[in-house]
Structures are given as structure tokens and as C-alpha cells.
């Protein structure tokens, strides 16, 4: 692939945190697999149509590794999903082993059992916010709920001390930073060193948690590389809170920027929360890029030839708004007949934390609707501070329920 002047440069600027660039609609219709230049300045293919995004996510000819990683297109200037990961020759076997190891800890049944625990945690967050609101009249749902809940849950699952939360949250933020250059990569190294310390502390007294499981598995399996194990722990801690924190924020914004959406949930929280969560998963579009893949061989698809080693940015954000799949695709409508989306991905890399995230989101939105029915945003959408990270989202969620 060669870079030419016509190439689109990612990211495509969006009007606000809830909407996507209008150009995506044109791309889906006219160039569903389009040559682009990544934020890092390298060539890649941008895939925007639902059909192709789903197909490619499920196709083993596309992976996360590259035969010559140093020659691969770099995607982002952040230190997450910025380039190839893993060994080209053993990728599939490594990934299968990792899934086998982790899947039981994140199963739907286990997550459901955690639900009651989450409800108590959410209730205590809301108690504290309500008390604060008595004094101040405005509270920050980001700091008081959207952040502490996912952090507490992933700490318990992984066996990470909750008191480290400020440290790993700030490392995550910097690691995903898109406007801080080399700092993002320094943060990734710091995060790695933090995790080595944690792993070695735990090794003396392994417990019933995911990091302990990984330490045991790595000690028993000579083909399981130590560095790979630590990277996996970092990835789980990063993805296990960052994504859900953002999704809670986007969900609150979708619901509160159009009163009828919120009122419908308030009228029947238990009956409507599941559908609301799925619609938040479909329409919520954190970050401006997509899922990264590299072609393992030459592939002809949708009128283009993708060469072995080419990078692809699969825009699940754009695919989830494809008008050929969803009726009035840009509208927030939990009652829509289409029940599937790519918000958790598809195929072998389908989000391992999907059941955890769904349980958290259901508990959060049901509790908010029941306990704070007259809640509204205390700032305009356009005034909210948006985070300059790969995973996007807002840095604050000021709300009030004071009578106007």
C-alpha cells in the first residue's frame, strides 16, 4: 500500500462525544473498506460496514500479530492497540490457551452471582452521593459511581489491592493517552513494573483470583512466557475498568440528553434495563478508531485486495450504526427489533469481560433510575471535558436533582 494525497486521515473528527463523524455514513455506502492513514502516520484499511466488520472479526486469516512486527503499520500514538502483539507462528494456540484459562473466571453464571455484591456496592456509592448532594446540590457521577464500581469489581476478580486504584487508574489513563507522545509508552513500562511487583508479592500466597490462576499456570507450563503472562495481567486490569467506566458515562449521557429516554427507564427500571444496556452497547462509541487486525495472507473482499501484513482498523462504532442493518440506526431506541450488535466485538477475541460489563451496567442503570429519578445533567453536553485517550469517554458527569 502507498500513501497518496487522497487518503483519509484518522481520526475523523466527531461533532460530540455521542455522535460519529457524518463521513462514516458515506464510507459505509461507497467505500466499506477504505485506505486511510492512521494517527501514527502509517497506511491501513478502515472497515465501516457491519457485514464486513463482523466477517473479518470472525475470520482466522486476520489476527493481532505480524510476521515482521517492526515493519507493521502503527495505528495510534497511545500505548494500547498501537501495533501488533503476540507471536505470528503461535498466535492461535497462545490465544486459545489464554481463553481456556480465563473463561471460567468470567462466565455468565459467576458474573450473575456477583450481581448482589454489585448492588450493595452501587447502593453505598449512591448513599454517599445523595449525602454530598444535600450539601452541594451537584455531584460528579463519574468520580462517585462510574469509576469506583468497575474498579472495585475488577480488583476483586483479579486479586489486585483496591488501595492501588489511583496508581493503576493514572497509569491506564496515560497508557491510553493519544496526545502525550512517548509518555504513553513510558506509562506502559511503569504499568508492567507495577504488575511484576504485584505478581511476585502474590506468588508467596496465591489465592482464589485470576492473577493467582495465571501465575500458577505460567509456573507449570514452560511454553507460557513470563513476560506474556505479565502483559496479560496488565491488559486485564486496564480493560477491566477503563472500558466500563466510559460506557457508564456514555449511557448516562444518552439517557439524560433526551428526557423521554430517561423517563421510559424510570417508569419500569427492571423491565427495561436490559434493552437499555444493549442500546448503550450498540450506540456508545468510545474512542475514534476501532479494533486492530493484521492480514495473515492476501484476501480479496468487498472489491479490494488486502495484502498479507496490511493493517485493518475495524470500526465497530460505524458498523453498529449501519442503516442496512438497523432501522433508524442513529436513534437511541431500546425497543428496536434488532437485538445484536458488535459492541463487545465478535469471533475468537469476543470481549471476555462481556458478562461482567453487562452485569455492572444493568445494576448501575436500574439503581440510578430507581433512586435518582429526577436526576439531570448539571452541564451542557458540549461543556463536558472529554478524555484525550484511545478509549475516549468523559472525565466528569456532573448531575443534580435539585428542584429547578
Amino acid at each position: 500500500m502507498s500513501i497518496d494525497a487522497e487518503r483519509l486521515k484518522l481520526p475523523l473528527a466527531r461533532p460530540n462525544v455521542l455522535e460519529l463523524a457524518p463521513l462514516y455514513e458515506v464510507l459505509r455506502r461507497e467505500a466499506p473498506i477504505a485506505p486511510v492513514t492512521t494517527p501514527a502516520g502509517d497506511p491501513a484499511w478502515l472497515v465501516t460496514r457491519y457485514e464486513e466488520v463482523r466477517l473479518l472479526l470472525g475470520d482466522k486469516r486476520f489476527g493481532r500479530s505480524h510476521p515482521e512486527p517492526e515493519k507493521a503499520s502503527r495505528i495510534s500514538t497511545a500505548a494500547v492497540q498501537d501495533g501488533p502483539t503476540g507471536e505470528f507462528t503461535t498466535e492461535e494456540a497462545d490465544h486459545t490457551r489464554m481463553r481456556r484459562l480465563l473463561t471460567p473466571a468470567f462466565s455468565a453464571k459467576r458474573m450473575r452471582l456477583l450481581g448482589e455484591n454489585m448492588e450493595q456496592l452501587v447502593d453505598s456509592c449512591l448513599d454517599a452521593l445523595i449525602a454530598e448532594h444535600e450539601r452541594t446540590g451537584v455531584v460528579d457521577l463519574h468520580r462517585g459511581l462510574a469509576f469506583p464500581l468497575p474498579v472495585a469489581m475488577i480488583c476483586r476478580l483479579l486479586g489486585v489491592p483496591e488501595e492501588d486504584n489511583e496508581l493503576f487508574a493514572s497509569l491506564s489513563e496515560r497508557m491510553a493517552g493519544t496526545e502525550i507522545g512517548e509518555e504513553a509508552h513510558k506509562a506502559r513500562e511503569e504499568f508492567f513494573r507495577y504488575m511484576v511487583g504485584l505478581v511476585e508479592t502474590k506468588r508467596g500466597a496465591l489465592g482464589e483470583d485470576v492473577i493467582s490462576d495465571l501465575v500458577r499456570a505460567q509456573a507449570e507450563d514452560p511454553s507460557f512466557d513470563y513476560v506474556e503472562m505479565v502483559r496479560l495481567c496488565v491488559g486485564l486490569l486496564f480493560a477491566g475498568h477503563e472500558t466500563t467506566v466510559n460506557r457508564i458515562g456514555l449511557g448516562v449521557l444518552f439517557l439524560l440528553t433526551e428526557r423521554s429516554r430517561w423517563d421510559a427507564l424510570v417508569a419500569d427500571p427492571d423491565g427495561r434495563v436490559d434493552a437499555v444496556v444493549e442500546e448503550v452497547m450498540r450506540l456508545g462509541a468510545p474512542g475514534d478508531l476501532g479494533l486492530l487486525r493484521y492480514a495473515r495472507e492476501d484476501v480479496d473482499i468487498a472489491g479490494v485486495t488486502i495484502k498479507a501484513g496490511d493493517a485493518l482498523v475495524l470500526s465497530t462504532n460505524a458498523a453498529n450504526r449501519d442503516a442496512t442493518v438497523y432501522s433508524h440506526a442513529e436513534e437511541f431506541d431500546p425497543d428496536r427489533p434488532e437485538r445484536t450488535h458488535l459492541g463487545f466485538g465478535h469471533g475468537a477475541h469476543f470481549c471476555i469481560g462481556a458478562s461482567l460489563a453487562r452485569t455492572e451496567l444493568r445494576v448501575v442503570f436500574a439503581a440510578l433510575a430507581k433512586r435518582l429519578p429526577s436526576m439531570r445533567l448539571a452541564k451542557e453536553l458540549d461543556q463536558l471535558q472529554v478524555r484525550a485517550t484511545l478509549t475516549g469517554g468523559v472525565a466528569e458527569l456532573p448531575v443534580t436533582w435539585r428542584s429547578a
Binding site: G58, F106, S107, A108, K109, G345
Partner: protein, 64 residues
């Protein structure tokens, strides 16, 4: 209705359990799909079809 699952394809996403937990479960030891009922009553067809449609690994086949 007859349901066939392919544990070789299954990636343990648990989507089927959320769609129809009377028909699908995840095994405790590896998280892979456990088919509880291969021929549930006809009124379960919509949920079972949904489970097959959302399976990220296309590991569920449903015959009427």
C-alpha cells in the same frame, strides 16, 4: 427443535447463557458451552435462535 453445539468452536463468551439459561450453560472447569436441553419446547425457539445469532463463534446450530 434440535440444537447442536460445537465445543471446538466455542470461545466461552456466555452469550447463549444470557439468551436462554434454561437451554445453555457454561461448564465450570473451562467455561465452554454446556447444552442443557437439546430439544426444548417450541415456544423457546425465538430465544434459542437469538442465542445462535449472537454466538461470536457460530458454535450453535438450530434445526426446527
Amino acid at each position: 427443535m434440535n440444537i447442536v453445539v460445537d465445543q471446538g468452536k466455542c470461545v466461552g463468551a456466555g452469550q447463549c447463557v444470557l439468551a436462554a439459561d434454561d437451554v445453555f450453560d457454561q461448564r465450570d472447569d473451562d467455561g465452554l458451552v454446556d447444552l442443557l436441553n437439546a430439544s426444548p419446547p417450541a415456544e423457546r425457539l425465538a430465544d434459542v435462535r437469538h442465542a445462535a445469532a449472537v454466538c461470536p463463534a457460530s458454535a450453535i446450530q438450530v434445526e426446527d
